[in-house]
Symmetry: C2
Subunit: 221 residues, 2 copies
DNA sequence: AATTTTTTTTAGGTTTGTCTAAAATTATTT
DNA sequence: AAATAATTTTAGACAAACCTAAAAAAAATT
């Protein structure tokens, strides 16, 4: 039925999928940065993915996943997020420790395994980072979430996801006591450096740099 | 600390471990058959495993795992059997469907993942095939089980494990309604073909060929 | 003990996925 | 529009893990 792809191919597909969310297209250099490899290696693989009809690609042009490629990507994202949910809910991982292990688990492509895991977890719709989990047909709940920088003053909201899993970011969030689910309200905006003063869980007040604000996503409550 | 080995290396180590249970030593041809690959490929890898100090090996001689290699093997076996237990107990897999998926899961070597999984499962001591699961130090419960051919007449016993996971064997067991945990009693032994007449679960009577009897293991009850 | 058979190793080749260095193309600047 | 800079591709190499065919060693036969 659906072919099986190598771990390397899957990593390319997954990263192209995430990168093309922004503008619909991805460049060789962008993808090389995301995969921490060299542009020459990217070109090699792009040609292979094109032959396998996973990618729309012409030399020297930007590229994007074909419908086939997108479907494959959604399968990988589904597996990744289900395993993250499992690790946090069942194996008591911290939500900031799951990423690496899920990167390995996501490559095990057994329909029975994944669907039974989904059922065992009671068909969760969002992973521990707040990102939606595709169902077995690849359908995802859209999120009515947006960037913290766009949140109006004194509007109560809830942190739903973070824009990166870098350990630097997670360290900072832990230190500031911000997690998925934290209740926040923007109290002041400083135009000098675009930093924000935030009220956290109706209690303490913290300051947030612009760099941090752009990677925090919230939903009004 | 402990190095990380490739999937291929782990498969070699695991198979050498199982094969050397019989006589303490393994030959190139034996291992090639077990891994469904060619003797020349085996030789290549043996040299690499020797360099990594996982294997005692001299050209043209039989070989066996070093203490390091055995420890590594026990880690792989632990992961394999824990995942098998998880698949059967939590994800409702049949005990005859778990092997392939567990072969993939076993290669994910994260101490936290494996130890938390172990805890989540309540530290099971035996996998669904009746084989003992090593603890986090590599210690296993010895089994007081023996081959069905050695079971005395009219001694009640319980099937604890099977000597192979071949689909042919599993098909036959399913047909005869024999599973791990079945209660059996040997009623007659026919010396002509060394077949056995068995009473199953105090109810029906079935006939078992010698070839089948040698791969069934039991424990007196 | 010499010959034949079997087992194991060596030599050389293939595929996948990576790399560096150089060439080609596209984009930007002057 | 020409020159420069940035991006992308090509060419050629490399490591891992496999293969086939031939050579070497060990085991079994006569």
């Amino acid at each position: 039925m659906t072919p099986n792809y190598s771990e390397a191919e899957e990593n390319y597909i997954k990263n192209i999928y995430h990168l093309q969310q922004a503008t619909g297209f991805v460049t060789t250099n962008e993808l090389a940065a995301a995969l921490r490899s060299k542009p020459a290696s990217i070109t090699d693989m792009l040609k292979k993915l094109k032959v396998k009809k996973l990618l729309h690609y012409e030399p020297y042009k930007e590229f994007q996943l074909s419908p086939q490629g997108k479907k494959t990507a959604l399968g990988i994202v589904r597996r990744h997020r289900l395993w993250e949910y499992f690790l946090v809910e069942k194996l008591r991982f911290g939500w900031d420790e799951v990423h690496e292990v899920a990167e390995e688990l996501e490559h095990i492509n057994s329909k029975k395994l994944v669907d039974q895991l989904d059922a065992f977890l009671d068909f969760p719709r969002f992973d521990p980072h707040g990102d939606p989990i595709p169902d077995s047909n690849g359908k995802m709940n859209l999120q009515q979430q947006f960037c913290l920088t766009g949140l109006l003053l004194n509007k109560p909201a809830e942190v739903t996801s973070v824009g990166s899993q870098s350990s630097e970011l997670l360290e900072l969030l832990k230190h500031k006591n911000i997690t998925i689910g934290s209740k926040v309200e923007v109290k002041r905006k400083f135009s000098f450096d675009q930093s924000l003063e935030l009220e956290l869980d109706k209690q303490i007040t913290v300051n947030i740099s612009k760099q941090l604000a752009v990677v925090l996503f919230v939903r009004p409550v």
